[in-house]
């Protein structure tokens, strides 16, 4: 794991690491850095799809809940008006669409990120607590095909890292 002082240095290092053939790596920063995820080879996120599915389920579920209540389970005849009075079902349908879509956005992103995760090896590096303050880290995993301890250490030095640490498991 290598430490950097600025987001630009981290971004540059991540690009060069990807170009050098490293794949199993992750970058850590105290705020989102544009293009960093792409630099380490992450392109497609499934979050929008999950939210879309959540929204559709909320919409259909919301409407048919009201349909079932008003037409099947507890029909009330109000002056002969249709039981399926769909225009008055729109507000609740809308609210439930938003509710389920929002729930799936938050729980979807947590699930995809594997959170909550009480233990992760990167926290064994003492300096890593600055990753949530003002320091930027790039971590290359030992299981990566291109990884060897000395070579990676040399690579980190070349890209201008300010500190190199081994992460214990």
């Amino acid at each position: 794991m290598a430490e950097f002082a600025s987001p630009e240095e981290l971004l540059e290092a991540a690009r060069r690491a990807f170009a050098a053939g490293f794949r199993k790596m992750d970058a850590y920063s105290p705020f989102p850095v544009d293009g960093l995820a792409e630099a380490i080879g992450f392109h497609r996120s499934r979050v929008p799809l999950i939210v879309l599915i959540g929204g559709i389920l909320g919409c259909l579920g919301g409407f048919f809940l009201q349909y079932w209540v008003s037409v099947i389970d507890y029909p009330i005849n109000v002056a002969g008006r249709p039981l399926n009075s769909w225009p008055s079902f729109i507000p609740v349908t809308f609210e439930l669409t938003i509710l389920v879509a929002a729930l799936s956005a938050v729980f979807g992103v947590l699930a995809l990120n594997g959170l909550p995760m009480p233990y992760h090896p990167v926290f064994n590096v003492e300096r890593f607590e600055l990753a949530s303050r003002n320091r930027f880290f790039l971590c290359i995993e030992a299981t990566d095909a291109t990884f060897d301890l000395d070579g990676t250490r040399k690579f980190f030095k070349e890209v201008g890292s300010q500190g190199i640490y081994e992460v214990d498991f």
Binding site: P7, A14, D26, A27, Y28, S29, P30, F31, P32, V33, L36, A37, A39, I40, F42, S45, V47, P48, V51, G55, Q66, V69, S70, D73, Y74, I76, S88, F89, P91, V92, F94, E95, L96, I98, L99, A101, A102, L103, A105, V106, G108, V109, L110, L112, N113, L115, P116, M117, P118, Y119, H120, V122, F123, F128, E129, L130, A131, S132, R133, N134
Partner: protein, 460 residues
Amino acid sequence: MAANQQNQPAEAGDSLPVIEPGHTFGSITDKISSIVLTGRTPWFWYVGFGLSFILVLVLFFCIAAVITIGVGLFGIMIPVAWGFDIVNFVWWIGIGHAGTLISAILLLLRQKWRQSINRFAEAMTLFAVACAGLFPLIHLGRPWYFYWLLPYPSTMGIQPQFRSPLVWDVFAVSTYFTVSLLFWFLGLIPDLATLRDRARGRIPRFIYGMLAMGWRGSAIHWHRYEIAYLLLAGLATPLVVSVHTVVSFDFAVGLVPGWHSTIFPPYFVAGAIYSGFAMVLTIAIPLRKLYGLEDFITMRHLKNMGMVLLVTGMIVAYGYLIETFMAWYSGDIFEKYMMMNRMFGPYGWMYWLLILFNILIPQALWFRSLHTNVIVLFLIAISVNIGMWLERYVIIVVSLHRDFMPSAWGMYSGTVFDYGVFAGTIGLFVALLFLFIRVLPMISIFEMRELVHEEEAKND
């Protein structure tokens, strides 16, 4: 620096910084997290929390009395069956609108000045909606049966009536609360990780660690996080508009003169934003002074919020104007009488106070020397808070007290329990805010780091 700004009018609005220069990622983190992680609680925290907690005790007492004895303790009766409870409900819900508006709509509009005020505005939303939610529950008379409003397979064999705006309201408000909570919590996760890493005690470390759920700032996580945050903002934007629309349906769908009006949804939404921003200003101004946050909540923020007040205030004024015009133009005697009664009837003084607090006083915001003056902004915000409460009182009580049949007319006034519950929710709101400020970062730290980074990039 801030003292200068209070006294000197700004030269050009947009040249005011959204963050004072000279801050680094580290200094921001330290400054904001130290408010939470300090061992010493400042004296004003004890004073503020203590006073508001006394009001919370008043709230507990009044609620206990109303539940044990009954809603007869309130001033409600026929024809005014919707008294303080509904006035306060609409008032609090309206206040809640600013938080989501700031976090969601201003995020989509890429307004950078939102970043130092969104966190506590969101917290304010949650607490305001919580206060709002109390009122319909107490007003039910038997709050322990509130779940009858939800559709569930009950042994009674009955179901809620989905054609009623009151049932829509249950769904709108509970969805609003849930989504606001999710939005707020999602925004908090990276900052909770910061607090976890910076806390020194074992117990705070453990608590913040559990809440942060192992967030480590991975690039892939940030990538997904930003998408989810943006989508949530996109979902919250129509939601915030829908909530007060549905609240206004509670009135507009009814037939009472003064309620039955198609202008209600847009005019209620504008009024909600108006009162919400007024409350954000009411809280932000003392807060930045007491905690020395003038570097982060700059004059730019206050000025912009003043501008939002001015614009939404004008929309509200237009609403009043159209209501008056339509009452005349409809040619309906009940509508015409409603308007005359509103202006010159027994509650006429309230209408004119409402016009004064809500329309006339905020016009001071047109002047640069006034809208860049912190004291003036604070006083205007208070004026709008009062004005918006009067507006709901005028709409609800004054419309109900004289409707179609003169033989069914009556007068209404709140009892000591009405005032007690109202004051109590203000206490609850303030007490919750004080607790929030003490244990969670009131400004989003990671978004401020992002802001510093962008400002640096701009200067290079």
